[in-house]
Structures are given as C-alpha cells and as structure tokens.
Amino acid sequence: MKPTQKQFEEGELLILADGKILAHNITREMAAVLSELDPENELMRQRATQFRPQACGLITADVRRTSPEMAGHRAHVAGAQSIALRVFKSRTERSNAPRSGDMDRRTDEDLVAADVRRRTDWKHLSQNPPPHVGGYRYQTGPKNK
C-alpha cells in the first residue's frame, strides 16, 4: 500500500444541538458505537454485527472507557441520508438506560454536542480549542500588567 494512502476508515457524524445525530458512510465500528447508543434498534444492531463482530466489540469497549457520558445512553435511530440517531434526554428514558459500571454520569444540561466544524482553519486546531474549553487565549481573570 502506498504511504500516501489513508491507513484508516472514515465516517462522518453530524451532531445537532437538539441531540439528533446524523451519520454518513457508516463503518462497522461506527455502527457498533451507534448501536451502543441505541441498543433497542434492531437495524443498527444488524449493521454492527454483520461483519467481524469481535472487532466491533473492541471498539465498543473503548468507547465505554473513553466516553462514559455517552456510553449507556438510550437513543433511537430515526433514519438518515445514511442513518440518523436521536439521543433522548428525558430523565424517564435515561433512567431506563442500561448502566455500565460505576461510570460518572453528567446531568442532561451538561451534555455537549461535538464540535463538528471541519478543523481547517487555525482557530479550530486541536492546539487552539474554542473558548468554552479555554481556547482562543481567552482570559477570565484580570489581565497581566
């Protein structure tokens, strides 16, 4: 394989402010994650387990470990240009969500949609995160004299 070629698979997610998630070019690993978010969705489960389910399991485990605020949430697949997925936020629905260990759970108000802007300009590089996580050299205290 040429060194210039992509060595990884790619999918795209669009997470809207209301919790709706749109997914495009769903790989098996992404399907596993989406299935984790919506365990009752049979279609997504089928997509996740169609191909090398053992690999999907590994990815799912990683997600549980690194994103505890997302793992275990119930969601509902609503259909998509590829697939759309709605993360429910009501307490009733969340109370029915499968628990995964003793992971800390953030309140509904703390849920933050991912920054899906393409990081093509300097302001959005990982070294320059947006202000709500302390970026843009934003200072909250008194300025240095």
Partner: protein
C-alpha cells in the same frame, strides 16, 4: 458515437464477466475522445484534455475505499469504492467537495484497489460497490476494476441514473444490482437544485433499462420541503411503472455542501415530514426495504 464491438452475449457464450469487462473497458476508454457517457452528451475529447460539465479527465481518482455497512442491509457489508467527480451539481451533496471535483482524492490504482476489495471479500464483505460522485463518468476505470475481480463477486452499481444509452450498453450484464438514486420528482426542482435539465426523462429511461437488465433498487432521500413536489410524484411513478420494485426511502437529510443556498434545505427533515413521506409510500403500496 462509438458502436460497441462486443455483444452482450457473454453469459450464454461462456465468456467470463472479467474478460468482457476488460474488452469493454478498452472501448469505453476510446469513447472518451467523444464523451457521451452521461445524459449531458458533452461530446468533448477527454483524452485530449478537454473537459465537459463533469470536468473529469481521462483518469479517475477516488476519495474513499472502505468496508461500509450503511447501505441496504441485503448489500452490506460492502467494499465501497467512491470515485471523484459527478455530472450533476446537487447543492446538497453530502460529498460535494469530492463529487464536484474530479481531481479530489487519490489517483486510482486498479490493481491496488481490487487487491483491497478482494481482501475485504475474504474478510466477510458480501459485495463490492462502485459509486461516486457518479461512477458513470469514469466508466472505463470502473470496468477495469471489474475485470480484475472474480466473476462471482456480487457487484453493485450505485448511480444517479443520469447515464446515457451508450453507457448502459457498456454496463449491460456487468453489475448484479443497480442502486439508483431518484432525487427529484419534477424537472423544476432538478434544474434549481442540481442544474440538470430534463432530469426525469433520463432517469426514468435508466430505471426501466436497469430493471430489465439487472436487479434494481431505487433510493430516494426525502429533502425538507420536497415531500409533496419530489417524493410524491416519484412514488406515484414507481407504483405505476415499476410495481414491486425495491425502494429505500432515506429520511436523514443532512444540510451539507451548498445546501444553505436554498432556504428550505438549511435544516434537517422534520419528524412530520418523514412520517408524511412514509404515508405516501404506503399510499402507493411501495415495496420499502431498509
């Protein structure tokens, strides 16, 4: 226009698909000197560097090649090869950056890509899908890929169904399934949103042909504000002309690329619009698949 020297009788004469695809690939490449592959019929000499509406040259590039599971369940997992460039200019195209630019992505190495496809098949992929952009504008390269794949590979041709008669002759009997995207139910919307004239006439011709020559699955993406003007006429036409055909109604419109140029395409499809689209499908007794 070039006359095909290869007939479509390879199945009855014992010729393998790969052999026929190789022969047709040569003819298709020669036909680029007077390109008539899509319904725009530009007639430019792509071999000499001229460019038509799609801006594609003589060589294909690809922007994605990977195993995916987001297509129809009966086709997945599929090794999907996405070729750069398209003959339509859909402002809401989810891969607009690559689909509007045939120079996007990497140069297609047919040997390498088929090696990856075969590896994916060995690992459990059920099909190989060639898509775009629009693969029709890169038909020689698509046929070359087919010529290197085992004859028993299940092949999917994912298309906007805006190809020409000449392109269909090259494709006859090559692909097992045509996955055709029927986007607009009226020509006014097609012209406004994709800059394509006489859209429905060409697409309907393609769908009739594809249904006779292979298995056909028709897709439609419900666009915000277009359930009545686009989806309903399509549903009605499918019910009348291709009854029982498999239809996949996609409801998760993504306001991508230049969708914001059109006020109704700035958001996603609402729940009520999705339900309305499903009601239309039920009204016309369409054979919906996932």
């Amino acid at each position: 226009m070039m006359t095909l020297a290869v007939t479509n009788d390879f199945r009855t004469h014992g010729r393998g698909r790969a052999t026929v695809a190789e022969l047709r690939a040569r003819l298709a490449r020669a036909s680029l000197s007077d390109c008539q592959l899509c319904a725009h019929h530009c007639g430019v000499n792509r071999l000499a560097g001229e460019r038509g509406i799609c801006h594609a040259g003589a060589t294909a590039r690809f922007f994605s090649a990977q195993v995916e599971v987001s297509d129809e369940l009966e086709l997945t997992p599929t090794f999907a090869i996405a070729l750069s460039g398209c003959d339509l200019r859909c402002s809401f195209c989810i891969t607009g950056k690559e689909s509007w630019n045939p120079n996007a992505g990497e140069l297609l190495d047919k040997y390498e890509i088929t090696e990856r496809a075969i590896h994916a098949l060995d690992a459990g992929a059920r099909t190989v899908m060639i898509l775009g952009g629009e693969p029709t504008i890169h038909l020689p390269d698509a046929l070359e890929i087919v010529s290197l794949l085992p004859d028993d590979t299940k092949l999917i041709w994912k298309t906007n169904a805006h190809g020409s008669v000449a392109a269909r002759e090259f494709l006859d009997g090559i692909f097992d399934v045509w996955l055709a995207d029927y986007k607009f139910g009226n020509d006014a919307c097609a012209q406004r949103l994709a800059l394509v004239p006489n859209y429905n006439q060409f697409v309907r011709e393609s769908l009739f042909w594809a249904n006779e020559h292979s298995e056909l699955i028709v897709r439609h993406l419900v666009m915000p504000g277009h359930a009545e003007c686009c989806w309903k006429p399509i549903a009605e036409w499918l019910a009348e002309n291709l009854p029982g055909i498999k239809v996949n109604l996609r409801s998760g419109f993504w306001p991508a690329w230049k969708a914001r140029k059109h006020v109704e395409l700035c958001g996603t499809t609402s729940r009520s619009e999705t339900e309305s689209a499903l009601a239309i499908a039920r009204e016309f007794h369409l054979n919906l698949i996932e």
